[in-house]
Amino acid sequence: MATAAPSIATQLIQLAPDVKESHTSFSDSYQTFFNAVFNGGALDPKTKAAVALASALLLGREETVRSFLATAKQLGLGNEEIGQVAGIVEVLKLDAAQRPAQAPAAAPAKANTCC
């Protein structure tokens, strides 16, 4: 099967030799990291697919969602399970919208009664 064409940015990076070298090295490292994450055995494949789908939904990137949705179904995640994953994401998004993140209040400084 034909591989995907490199992105425009990747093609332009080839114009700068130093940048190209770093980019290649970074891409290789990223691929190693990706494989370690998705091939790791701590989570079973369905759970990994559910977490990845939830993260993609949270990022709101349509193509990433589509890709992980396909993977999730291929790994046996049913529509009801997918619906529940989407529900959890939506709850967290709504919660974040209603209760903006706040740093925990600093403990009041105690009066220095000592010397």
Partner: protein, 428 residues
């Protein structure tokens, strides 16, 4: 539940298609769906059990993917309802199934490749328009001169009316052929078909063939836009043909299917009636587009989508009873470009007698539309009304159109949304 399970024996390989019913029918029959498309749309992700993006023009890659997913075991069936994937369906079925079912590869190509279709039909004495295959614009011009103008220029194996044009002059023939040869559509076989223009009414004949015996399900009078382009404006049943005309049309259609080798499949065949009688224009080995499946089911009791699924699975074809003696289908098209407005939430039930009407609009109020003849225009929806008389169906369509109050407001700067999710454009 007749099939089912999670083994490959309970899995149907479905290629392409965007209609939920194509999926739900297979689920209702108890099967899981391994769905393949170049880019699986979001909607199909949830309808399919195993959705896969794959280059559907790379047949070896598709075969390897299916074989690996099914662990080398045969699927319950291989199926498609979309024209461009019919040869691939037949190819996979031949490679993967234990026993041949549905269409053979040879028959699939006989139907899908318009040049092959005409050759096979002519060899068997089935009337077709005069035709020739051109490799370039000059060839096309020469063939047109030999056939005699006007002619129709069309791609060899595209679906629907993509690129089809009636040409009155040799200059128009050259231009139409150049456009087809330069644009990459879904076709894979090269060449431009140049054929005699048959000036006369067109008919769509829907059939079901089992063990070589063909049952005609519906004969519909088909209404098109005026040439040069061909957009389907609507259909009516009964066709308006007299008894001998209808008998002759049935005989020609049956002969065409026999000549092409269709023994266990459905078809949607288009035939024109010109000064010299009927001429077979297209034989589509699939269900018709738009809502012609529903119209045919109302008339015949046979659901062609279900029938194709059952034939692919080797199951008996089930049928219900006919529910309508008259049906009228009216495509929603526009004469001018602009922004469309219409009333929403109208109650359409009173406008159809024996069955609820079908009213579909694929554009929201305020969205831009193009004229029917424009390449980006075509059909934006449809109204189908059922009844017991021609007057009843005509009144029903008119009443629904009045209730919708479709209007187009001219826009000075018509900008196009890139997303066009319509399943049918040139078709109904």
């Amino acid at each position: 539940m007749t099939g089912g399970g999670t083994t490959s024996a309970g899995i149907v390989v479905l290629i392409g298609g965007r209609a939920q019913r194509e999926f739900s029918l297979l689920h209702d029959l108890g099967y899981r769906i391994l769905y393949l498309d170049r880019r699986v749309p979001f909607s199909c992700m949830t309808w399919a059990d195993l959705p896969f993006d794959v280059d559907v023009d790379d047949w070896d890659a598709v075969f390897e993917l299916v074989k690996n997913q099914l662990g080398g075991q045969p699927p319950a069936a291989v199926l498609t309802h979309v024209e461009p994937r019919i040869p691939l369906m037949a190819h996979l079925a031949e490679l993967l199934l234990d026993a041949p079912r549905g269409l053979s590869v040879e028959t699939a190509w006989n139907c899908h490749d318009k040049w092959l279709t005409r050759n096979r039909l002519r060899e068997h004495g089935v009337p077709v328009p005069g035709f020739g295959l051109a490799a370039n614009a000059e060839d096309a011009a020469q063939i047109a001169a030999e056939i005699g103008l006007p002619v129709v220029v069309k791609p060899r194996d595209e679906a629907g009316a993509f690129g089809v044009r009636r040409c009155l002059t040799v200059k128009e023939v050259r231009e139409a052929a150049t456009v087809i040869l330069s644009e990459s559509g879904s076709g894979t076989r090269t060449g431009v078909l140049v054929e005699e223009y048959i000036d006369g009414p067109e008919y769509a004949v829907q059939t079901l063939t089992r063990q070589g015996r063909t049952q005609v399900l519906s004969i519909l009078r088909q209404h098109m836009t005026d040439p040069p382009v061909f957009v389907e404006l609507g259909y009516e049943h009964p066709s308006g043909l007299d008894q001998s005309g209808e008998l002759s049309l049935r005989e020609i259609t049956v002969a065409a299917l026999q000549a092409l080798g269709v023994t266990d499949w459905i078809s949607h065949t288009q035939v024109r009636h010109g000064p010299d009688g009927f001429r077979v224009v297209e034989v589509n080995a699939r269900r018709p587009g738009g809502r012609l499946v529903e119209m045919t089911e109302a008339i015949s009791g046979i659901d062609m989508t279900r029938a194709a699924s059952q034939l692919a699975l080797g199951l008996p074809v089930t049928s219900g009873r006919p529910k309508a003696t008259y049906a009228l289908y009216s495509s929603i098209v526009f004469e001018q470009p602009g922004a469309v407005t219409y009333r929403t939430g109208i109650d359409v039930a009173p406008f159809s007698g024996v069955l609820p009407p079908i009213v579909e609009l694929e554009i929201a109020p305020g969205e831009p539309v193009q004229a029917a003849a424009h390449p980006e225009g075509g059909v934006y929806g449809r109204i189908v009304v059922f009844g017991d008389s021609a007057a009843e169906t005509r009144d029903g369509v008119r009443g629904i159109r009045e209730a919708l109050d479709l209007q187009v407001t001219e826009l000075e700067d018509l900008t196009w949304e890139v997303a066009d999710s319509r399943e049918y454009k040139s078709c109904c």
